[in-house]
């Protein structure tokens, strides 16, 4: 494969930078551990160490830099530590038949995925409906589009707790629905924008052609605008599903949720277990990657079926 070398080069560079960063990030933790084990570190008082810059600590205690790569609670874990934590909370638990235990990231990932897919479906339907309304009605174009843009400038972190509170007020049990709403809120926008562009992509000549057949508006939509918008739709869906996943995770963060990848990240933060945060982060990234790849494959299959792989 021709693209493999550059991909591996970038990957190697990222891993190298990561490993290099572990030393300064973990030097304080390493010195604390060493001191507790009775070793002599410079300076000896922890308060004095606290005020020293990390670079100085590394210069003064070079023999403890290596310790930073094997801490139990590192500020910045190494890729191997993250990988093994990820394995411990997914593959290993699955092998032991505990894939859906509350400690398993498969369980939490499933909770997040569930809401993400609902939010994605809701956001896609809303986005497509909005796009059709905007393309066919100038009034809607002038009135809805500004709100759609404004909606994306409101920080979702500020909005998420309100959506949860309001949906419990109207009697919605559980967190799946409010999380899906938050996720749809992020997801609908790229779908809307992409579909508006796609539905408007046929040129004047193509619309004139249909007019010479006295085609109805519905026929023009089904035979021209909709198929013409497909490439745009799939591009938007790929952005949309990633946004939906982010929305769900954000919906799990500040809201007291106890399950889902977002909740794992928050709990990891509160209990001082960075490894759990990093593992949850990677689980979310892998999930996003899988979802986008699935959509990409669907796109290829669909466009190929439509004969559009020129």
């Amino acid at each position: 494969m021709r693209g493999l070398l550059p991909i591996l080069t970038v990957l190697a560079a990222i891993v190298a930078i990561w490993y290099a960063a572990v030393a300064p990030m973990n030097i304080r933790g390493a010195l604390d551990v060493a001191e507790r084990a009775g070793a002599e570190v410079m300076p000896t008082e922890s308060l004095a160490r606290f005020e020293r810059p990390i670079w100085r600590l590394m210069v003064d205690n070079p023999q403890y830099i290596a310790l930073g790569y094997s801490l139990d609670r590192p500020r910045l874990p190494t890729p191997v530590q993250v990988g093994s934590e990820l394995w411990k909370t997914t593959g290993e638990m699955a092998l032991n038949g505990r894939a859906f235990s509350k400690r398993s990231l498969i369980y939490h990932g499933w909770i997040t995925l569930h809401s993400t897919l609902w939010g994605f479906a809701l956001g896609t339907v809303l986005g497509m409906a909005g796009a059709i309304a905007i393309v066919y009605s100038r009034v809607v174009d002038m009135s809805l589009m500004p709100w759609a843009i404004i909606s994306q400038t409101v920080p979702i972190v500020a909005l998420a707790p309100m959506i949860i509170v309001l949906s419990s007020q109207v009697g919605i049990e559980g967190r799946t629905v409010p999380k899906a709403i938050i996720s749809a809120y992020l997801c609908y926008f790229p779908v809307l924008v992409g579909m508006v562009k796609g539905l408007r992509s046929p040129g004047a000549a193509q619309l004139d052609l249909l007019q010479t057949y006295s085609a109805s508006g519905l026929q023009a939509f089904l035979k021209l605008r909709l198929p013409a918008s497909m490439p745009y739709l799939f591009t938007s869906l790929k952005i949309g599903i990633a946004a939906a996943l982010v929305g769900t995770i954000v919906g799990e963060l500040p809201t007291g949720a106890i399950s889902g990848l977002g909740a794992r990240i928050l709990i990891g933060d509160q209990f001082g277990t960075p490894l759990a945060i990093w593992a949850a982060l990677f689980a979310a990234a892998i999930l996003a990657g899988v979802l986008v790849t699935l959509l990409d494959l669907t796109q290829r299959a669909t466009l190929k079926r439509m004969g559009m792989q020129a």
Binding site: A205, L210, T212, Y213, S214, A215, Q219, P227, M308, A310
Partner: protein, 264 residues
């Protein structure tokens, strides 16, 4: 004008079309009088802005004249369109990339509600007319520009309109391909006996194809000369070297020059 008693297929009387723009009114057509008889091949030639495409679009009811009268098959342009009076061929083939060639030709048939069997029949027949039999399953991007334009002509022929309106259909093609398509178009015209209105920039193309050449000039868009061609209907490509051909071409060129003179 033909000396038949038959009513003209297309008839325009002091036709005006003025576009209101931010820079003031633009007189796209002014006082256009023209009759086109059944079975004629009429070319419209003139510089950009002379209204030749606008006139074609008026016949197709894609533009509404602001004055004068225009009838197509004895009815208003709007009614004629609803009665499927014409097929329109645009400068760009405009085939849908997600449809195979036969599906592209099926497009107007689907819209007009032909049965599947009838569609298949007609597709086979028009593909044969434009010499594209065997290419029905191909997608547009698999065909050359000339073949795509032939497919778009097939699409315009599929529903048996008597009139074929062609807006610079070969304008984007190279000279050799254009010659070949011109020859094919004449054959097709002879076989189908359609009435063809054809917009072009090219003097040789206009003279080679037409029984009647309409020379137009801009600002305001109007007809400056109408030439009835004395050439026989049967025309090999080398007719373009005969004195008769060159004489007509000369007259067209003079007409174009006269139309240009006042603005320079």
């Amino acid at each position: 004008m033909q000396d038949t008693a038959e009513a003209p297929v297309i008839s325009a009387t002091s036709l005006d079309l003025t576009f209101q723009t931010n820079d003031g009114p633009v007189h796209a057509l002014s006082g256009v009088d023209l009759n086109i008889a059944k079975g004629e091949f009429v070319s419209f030639i003139g510089p950009s802005g002379c209204g030749k495409t606008t006139f074609l679009r008026c016949i197709a009811a894609l533009e509404m004249p602001t004055g004068g009268t225009l009838t197509v098959n004895g009815m208003s342009a709007d009614d004629a369109r609803r009665a499927r009076a014409y097929g329109y061929v645009f400068q760009a083939a405009g085939l849908y990339p997600w449809r195979s060639i036969e599906k592209n030709i099926a497009l107007p048939l689907e819209i007009m509600g032909y049965s599947k069997a009838e569609q298949a029949d007609r597709i086979a027949r028009v593909l044969d007319l434009v010499e594209l039999s065997g290419f029905g399953k191909k997608y547009p991007w698999q065909l050359s520009g000339g073949m795509q334009q032939r497919a778009s002509i097939a699409r315009a022929l599929a529903f048996d309109a008597d009139i074929l309106l062609m807006d610079e259909p070969f304008g984007a093609l190279d000279e050799i391909v254009r010659d070949h398509l011109n020859e094919q178009l004449l054959e097709l015209w002879a076989r189908t006996e359609k009435t063809i209105a054809f917009v072009t920039h090219s003097i040789p193309e206009a003279v080679y194809l037409s029984t009647k050449i309409v020379v137009m000039s801009p600002r305001p868009g109007r007809i400056t000369d109408v030439i009835d061609s004395p050439l026989p209907r049967e025309r090999p490509l080398d007719i373009r070297d005969t004195p008769e051909f060159l004489a007509i071409a000369h007259r067209v060129r003079e007409g174009l020059r006269a139309g240009h003179a006042y603005e320079d």
